[in-house]
């Protein structure tokens, strides 16, 4: 169904950002005019990361309402294409992506989708894989600018694809310079609202069971 596909696409977009995040990662930032070295570094880091586990805090900033909604949970990633995002507070909500299969579990109800049935989903999937492989700069669905500060890189993604631009105006990915892993992700919407996800307690290359990423 179209709406379900849109919903899943939206979730995928968020996931991809997270992935972009985990496999690598304006104030105080300087533009990097030649990103070749950075791209190579990101690919090297991605190749070293077989799995990743992290806690996250998500804060939705609502400009007009001068309000924030916070939630938190855990993130798991395993090469080459397995992701698990589990919200634990203030509600339980689970998203698992395994290859082209995506599963959402909410309040005991499970929704599954095969992403290969939709062009949008394929596009999202491609970006996710690009992010994991450190090839996000080659993705033509985004214009990407890179910046650096003393401690971080900032990747600024501007969607050129209409499916993505309908959801976000800009996506900012803040990467730690230490290991190129994502410190923070910002998803900016047209109305000025934005969602930030802050990643903490990151552990690389743990042995993660495949059962964590089961979509059955």
């Amino acid at each position: 169904m179209k709406f379900n596909r849109w919903l899943i696409s939206a979730c995928c977009c968020c996931l991809l950002l997270l992935l972009a995040t985990m496999s690598y990662g304006q104030k105080g930032f300087t533009l990097i005019s030649n990103t070749a070295q950075l791209q190579a570094d990101l690919q090297k880091s991605a190749a070293k990361t077989q799995s990743l586990k992290s806690d996250f805090t998500q804060i939705k900033h609502m400009k007009m309402l001068d309000d924030k909604v916070r939630s938190k949970g855990t993130f798991h990633f395993k090469q080459t294409d397995k992701v698990r995002i589990e919200y634990s507070h203030p509600f339980s909500y689970l998203v698992v992506m395994n290859g082209s299969q995506l599963m959402i579990k909410e309040g005991g109800k499970i929704s599954k989708i095969n992403t290969s049935n939709s062009k949008t989903m394929q596009s999202v999937n491609k970006i996710m894989i690009d992010c994991m492989r450190g090839t996000v700069f080659q993705n033509k669905d985004f214009n990407i600018k890179a910046f650096y500060s003393n401690s971080q890189y900032l990747l600024q993604l501007s969607p050129v694809n209409s499916a993505m631009s309908g959801l976000f105006t800009t996506i900012n990915i803040y990467l730690s310079k230490q290991d190129n892993s994502v410190d923070k992700l910002e998803l900016k919407e047209k109305n000025g609202d934005y969602t930030e996800m802050i990643f903490m307690n990151k552990t690389h290359n743990l042995s993660l069971k495949d059962a964590l990423f089961s979509v059955r």
Binding site: A10, C11, M62, M64, D67, V69, R70, S71, F91, E106
Partner: protein, 217 residues
Amino acid sequence: MRFFLFASCTLLLLSCSPYPILQKATIAYPTQLEEIQPTIERTLYRAQVSGKVLLKKFNLSGLLLFKRTEDQVTHVVFQNEMGLNYFHFTWDYHHHFKVLSIIPQMNRKALIKTLKKDFEILLMISKTGGGITHYNAADSTQVLRVPLEQGFVDYRYHKSNRHWLGATLVDKRKVITTFEFSQPVIWKDLPNHMLIRHRTAGFNIELTKLERTHDTQ
């Protein structure tokens, strides 16, 4: 939970037959809906929507935020778990409704009309300005009827403690929507848990209030 089951069963039975004609009661308070209207500063719900479109089932979930800002505008914002907005509705001081944003997939006139009516019933926003009429219902309950442009809303409340038990939207003696609360609610408050059941619109909304803690604000 028992109350919730009882209310559901009662409403199920009621839905099979025309909405009953009730006996008027002589009760002085309240005379206007504004007197018992929920006082909202900020209330956050976990929302789960389920239904069928063209025989296909769908589920949708997220967070539903009710907030009244300093300019006396009431906002209702529904967003998914990852923060993306589904819609943002407002009602100003004069109860004028506005769609500030809505995703293209939900931007359907009939859907917006249904949701608008749901929230207006829940928030006790009435543009008709018509007075309230009181009726006797079952043994321990009474009904406060508010006329709408089309049909009316019956708010059921407990006779002795005046706790709000639920609401029913009726048009041409047919039940259109029911608001089933899992527990009675004092006037001027919103329920902790409720099920909004649409008889014709093909979807239901379940809302569970989230505690206001530093983690959710």
